[in-house]
Symmetry: C2
């Protein structure tokens, strides 16, 4: 988990994940849309793989990278206690608004 944040701290890596949301992509494909050299992209992919955010499928000399959601699920659960905080205030607001409805009563 700890490491997931560090990995996501890099904007290019988040960009890669965003691209992979649409499906598997070979490295060259990513290089084209990333204003980065191929070695740089490969490096980021390695880091993403290390964090389990991505997995590879080999197809001849092409390597297709695909998103893995597990670490993001963990991130989501890290967020959970905080989310409870704002949803509970939202609930409070809703309750408040409820008490205010029908103003002319």
């Amino acid at each position: 988990m700890a490491s997931t944040f560090e990995v996501l701290a890099e904007p290019h890596r988040r960009e890669i994940l965003d691209l992979l949301r649409e499906g598997e992509r070979p490295v060259g494909d990513l290089v084209e849309r990333l204003a980065l050299t191929q070695p740089a992209v490969s490096k980021h992919l390695r880091v993403l793989r290390g964090a389990g955010l991505v997995e590879v499928r080999q197809d001849a000399q092409r390597r297709w990278y695909r998103l893995r959601l597990d670490p993001l699920v963990e991130l989501d659960s890290w967020l959970e206690p905080y989310r409870r905080m704002w949803t509970s205030s939202l609930d409070a607001l809703e309750r408040h608004l409820d008490t205010m409805e029908d103003p002319d009563e």
Copy 2:
């Protein structure tokens, strides 16, 4: 948003946020439970404040730091499209299990 990830990448800072979930705390209080020197803690608080993750209230020479949820709400919404991906697969699994129920029929 970009910056929120970078800020959260630091474990001590996440620890600080965790502590602040229980309520306002003065700096010294944080220093005590953080295996860090006071200047280090102040630095982290400065970064957290810069990212809007924390706000200060001054009370004489004491400064009470408090959690701010806004950036975490944003993080949550960054996560949203990914969350859709795993909830939809979960839905698919549920549908699958539905088709499998009543095995001896």
